[in-house]
Structure formats: structure tokens, C-alpha cells
């Protein structure tokens, strides 16, 4: 088809990219194949596994089901953008502490999803964490340690907020 490519602007991990995309290119494919940010993974490519989870304007979505062209102007954070100033994000540190991965393929999605969960502030119990992480599958079955890591990060975040009050 001779549909011309469409110019869009994406701010990814703080850097602006002006890029021409075909209508059928997904955000995931643009991030991986065009911007060479291969942290976000293509697992099922159907919105079922969550390995492609990124933050778009602060909210977690499945980038495999988003057309890049419809996200024109968005600010995107991928796993590559979670650390700041050489310091791991507290959730990344907690993942290491709790050995919250085996093969690691789902980890970028788990991290982006978990960072959003911490920001959303809706999880209060272990059951809430499990439920609100249900969109991220781990074929190795590292769920116990993943939930532990998020619980640790959540407790630290809550403790930090109480200390600040």
C-alpha cells in the first residue's frame, strides 16, 4: 500500500524523537526497531503477557496494542528510562534484592508495570499487588519474588511518605 508515512513526535525517556511512521507500526515496534530501545519485549504481541508494558504520559499500557501514530505527542518511559542519574529506581533495586526474575524476559514489563502500580497508589495488600500485576505474566513462575519486591518497594515508599509528613 502506498500510504505515505506520517510524521509524529515522541518524547522517549526525556529525549524528543521526530519520526515518520506507517499507520500500522505499533508503538512497541517503533521503540524497538526504529529507536533501538530493545528493553521493552515482544512476548505474545496480543496484549496478554505484559512484556511490552511502557508508561505513556505516566500510565502503563501494552505498547504492542498501541499504534504509534495514535500516540503522537506522548511522553513515554521505557525500562531504559527508569534509573535516574546512574541510580537504579527503588523497584529495580528491590528486584535485585529479592531475586525477582529467572530468565529476565518479562522483567522490563514487570518493572514498568510495578513502577506504575507504586505511582497509582491503589495497592494496599498483598492480594492487591497480585491482582494489579495480573497483566504481567512470568513463564519462569517468579511471581512470589516479584510480589515480594513490589511489596518491599511499596512499604519503603509508604515509610518515606510517613517520614516526610
Amino acid at each position: 500500500m502506498d500510504t505515505p508515512k506520517i510524521e509524529i513526535a515522541l518524547t522517549v525517556n526525556g529525549a524528543r524523537h521526530d519520526i515518520a511512521v506507517a499507520p500500522w507500526e505499533t508503538l512497541l515496534d517503533v521503540l524497538r526497531e526504529r529507536l533501538h530501545l530493545t528493553g521493552s519485549k515482544k512476548g505474545c504481541d496480543q496484549g496478554q503477557c505484559g512484556a511490552c508494558t511502557v508508561l505513556v504520559d505516566g500510565e502503563r499500557i501494552n505498547s504492542c496494542l498501541a499504534l504509534a501514530v495514535s500516540r503522537d505527542g506522548a511522553a513515554i518511559t521505557t525500562v531504559e528510562g527508569l534509573a535516574e542519574g546512574g541510580e537504579l529506581h527503588p523497584l529495580q533495586a528491590a528486584f535485585i534484592e529479592h531475586d525477582a526474575f529467572q530468565c529476565g524476559y518479562c522483567t522490563p514489563g514487570q518493572l514498568c508495570s510495578g513502577v506504575a502500580l507504586l505511582h497509582e497508589g491503589r495497592a494496599q495488600t498483598r492480594e492487591d499487588i497480585r491482582e494489579l500485576m495480573s497483566g504481567n505474566l512470568c513463564r519462569c513462575g517468579a511471581y512470589t519474588n516479584i510480589a515480594d519486591a513490589i511489596e518491599t518497594a511499596l512499604n519503603r515508599q509508604n515509610a518515606g511518605r510517613e517520614a516526610a509528613e
Partner: protein, 337 residues
């Protein structure tokens, strides 16, 4: 992924104009449409992106209800303070479905237009009347464990996959659509349709119409309600059977009752005649069992899904007991009490 043209609508009128040219589909969150385009199940020639339209507000209506813009995301709706307080049944049903990532992208209008999750509808190597009218139904006599037990036809036994719509059916919501002839409102029972001989048609909208809002009438089901969903996994799975129940109770007697079923038919299933059986009755097991029997009276299994009929009866009973007791199902702690 299929190849298609892309236009971006800057107004509802522009979107409606774009939709009037054949082969054009509206794109909102994309969580269902993009998936179906990847697998050649839906093949629009052109997509009109409606994400810039001003349909993202939840507003008060003069009559006391709420108007939900078609582009309000499932997350924004479920976590809205007004919804949580006045329509907790709706919030609960939304949170019983999909995942946080999907709910952040999926919209109110899009949820209504979800296509079935019938395996054969997705598998383009098999005949399917919903994809290709007249091709035949592979689910009839095939693998049909998840399929319909109510309202099915010889052409199609698919079920509607939405949780949100089951609650909207119970709440007597209405759907506002806009087309070239202007705006019209479709009642919820009339919006989705049974498959009959043309299962390719999921609803009664015309191709050149766009959903602009969902209207919630005033309701007083803040206390006696529940959304009870039974599925193969604890989370992130479509319903085998779900029940949205809302009761209005006074002096220990049921004054009004709304019960909608998900996972059992081509549309959210309600039977207002059967609901009449509950009015004026005491909210006890005997009453609820009789109601469940009546609601499932015409149910017909396809073999592998016969279990759904008894499962539905039991889920209806349990949901009504939860609603009557004012102890709605928790969507995080999945223990059914």
C-alpha cells in the same frame, strides 16, 4: 498486521463523515481492534483515530444521573469517585476484567464494541459466520466449552466478552450515538443483539455512527449489589459466567431487583419478567433458587458447555445472597463468600 489508511478526526462531525465511507473503522484505545487487525480478523481499509475528540469527561446530568464520555478509559471510570460512590457495581465489574494496562488504554465506547473471544472467530483458517456470513459455525459441534447457553442460534453460539457491559445492563444504562442524521439514544437491551441469522452484526449501531457517551440513570444500589465473576483463572480471564446483581431493599423485603448475566449469551442477559418474581419477596435462598431456575429455564448446552447452566444457577444464587447481605464480591481477594 494488515495495511490500512489512517486519518485523525478533530471533531465528532469529522469522525462521522469519515465513518460514512465504506471500510472505515473508528480507533480509540485499540486494545481489541489492533489485535484483530494483526490477525486478519478485522480488515478495515481505513482507520479514523478518534482519540483527540472531546469525549473524555464524566459529567452530572440534570436528571441526576451521569454522562460518561465514550473516550473515558476503563481505569478512569472504575476509579472515579462518583462512580465508586453511586455506581459501585459498575466499578467492580470493570475491575473484574482485563488488566491494569488494558484498562488504561481501553475506552467506554470501545468496551461496548468488543468482539467475541470465540476461538474460531480468531482463527481465520476455520469457517465462522461472524467473520464471513454463510461460511458456517465451527463452534457448533466443535470446541465450545466457553460458548453460549442462552439466546444462541444455528448460525452462532459466541458470547459477548465484556464485564463492564453486564453491569451497564443491570443499571439500565443508555448508549448515545451520533451519525449523519444526528444524535440518538439506544437503550442497553437494544444495543447488543442476539446472533439470529446475521451474527456478523454484534449491535444495532449503523456503520456510520459513533458512540459518543454512555448515560447512567440515577440509581440507588449503593449497598445491595455485587459483581460475581467465575472464570478458569483467578484473574485476567474472561468470564465463564458472571452475574451483576442489584437489589433495592426496604424493611427486609426486595422492592426492586436487577440481575444481568455475562458469559452466557451474545449479549448481557436480562429477563425483566423473571426479575418480577423477586419483588415483594424475602431475600432468602428459596426465593433466589426459584429465580435462578426461572432465569435459566430456556438454557441449552452445546455439549462441552453444559456445565455452565448449573454454574450459572449457582452463581446467580450466590450473587443474590451477596447483594442481599450487602457484602459485594471483593475483586482483589477472590475468595467467594
Amino acid at each position: 498486521m494488515i495495511r490500512f489508511d489512517y486519518v485523525r478526526a478533530n471533531s465528532v462531525a469529522e469522525a462521522v463523515t469519515a465513518l460514512s465511507s465504506p471500510g472505515t473503522r473508528a480507533l480509540a484505545g485499540g486494545t481489541n481492534l489492533v489485535d484483530l487487525m494483526k490477525y486478519d480478523v478485522m480488515k478495515p481499509r481505513r482507520v479514523v483515530d478518534i482519540n483527540r475528540l472531546p469525549l473524555k469527561d464524566i459529567s452530572e446530568r440534570d436528571s441526576g444521573g451521569l454522562r460518561i464520555g465514550a473516550l473515558v478509559t476503563n481505569s478512569a471510570l472504575a476509579w472515579d469517585a462518583r462512580i465508586a460512590k453511586r455506581y459501585p457495581l459498575l466499578a467492580s465489574a470493570i475491575l473484574a476484567g482485563a488488566s491494569p494496562q488494558l484498562r488504561n488504554a481501553a475506552t467506554t465506547g470501545g468496551n461496548l464494541l468488543q468482539r467475541t473471544r470465540c476461538y474460531y472467530f480468531y482463527d481465520t483458517s476455520t469457517p465462522c459466520n461472524k467473520r464471513d456470513r454463510g461460511a458456517g459455525c465451527s463452534a457448533i459441534g466443535g470446541i465450545n466449552r466457553i460458548h453460549a447457553v442462552l439466546g444462541a442460534s444455528d448460525s452462532c453460539i459466541a458470547v459477548h466478552p465484556s464485564d463492564m457491559c453486564v453491569a451497564l445492563a443491570a443499571l439500565d444504562a443508555e448508549v448515545e450515538v451520533e451519525g449523519p442524521q444526528g444524535v440518538r439514544t439506544i437503550t442497553f437491551p437494544e444495543f447488543h443483539r442476539l446472533p439470529a441469522d446475521d451474527p456478523q452484526q454484534d449491535n444495532t449501531m449503523r456503520a456510520d455512527e459513533l458512540i459518543t457517551a454512555v448515560i447512567l440513570p440515577p440509581a440507588d444500589f449503593g449497598r445491595n449489589h455485587t459483581y460475581l465473576k467465575v472464570r478458569d483463572r483467578l484473574s485476567y480471564a474472561f468470564a465463564l459466567v458472571s452475574v451483576a446483581a442489584a437489589l433495592e431493599m426496604r424493611d427486609g423485603i426486595v422492592r426492586d431487583a436487577r440481575v444481568a448475566l455475562g458469559g452466557v449469551a451474545h449479549k448481557p442477559w436480562r429477563d425483566k419478567e423473571a426479575e418480577g418474581l423477586l419483588k415483594g419477596e424475602r431475600p432468602d435462598e428459596t426465593t433466589f433458587r426459584a429465580f435462578a431456575e426461572r432465569l435459566m429455564r430456556d438454557a441449552k448446552g452445546q455439549g462441552q458447555n453444559d456445565f455452565k447452566i448449573e454454574l450459572a444457577r449457582r452463581t446467580i444464587l450466590r450473587a443474590l445472597m451477596q447483594a442481599a447481605a450487602g457484602t459485594p464480591q471483593n475483586q482483589s481477594d477472590k475468595v467467594i463468600r
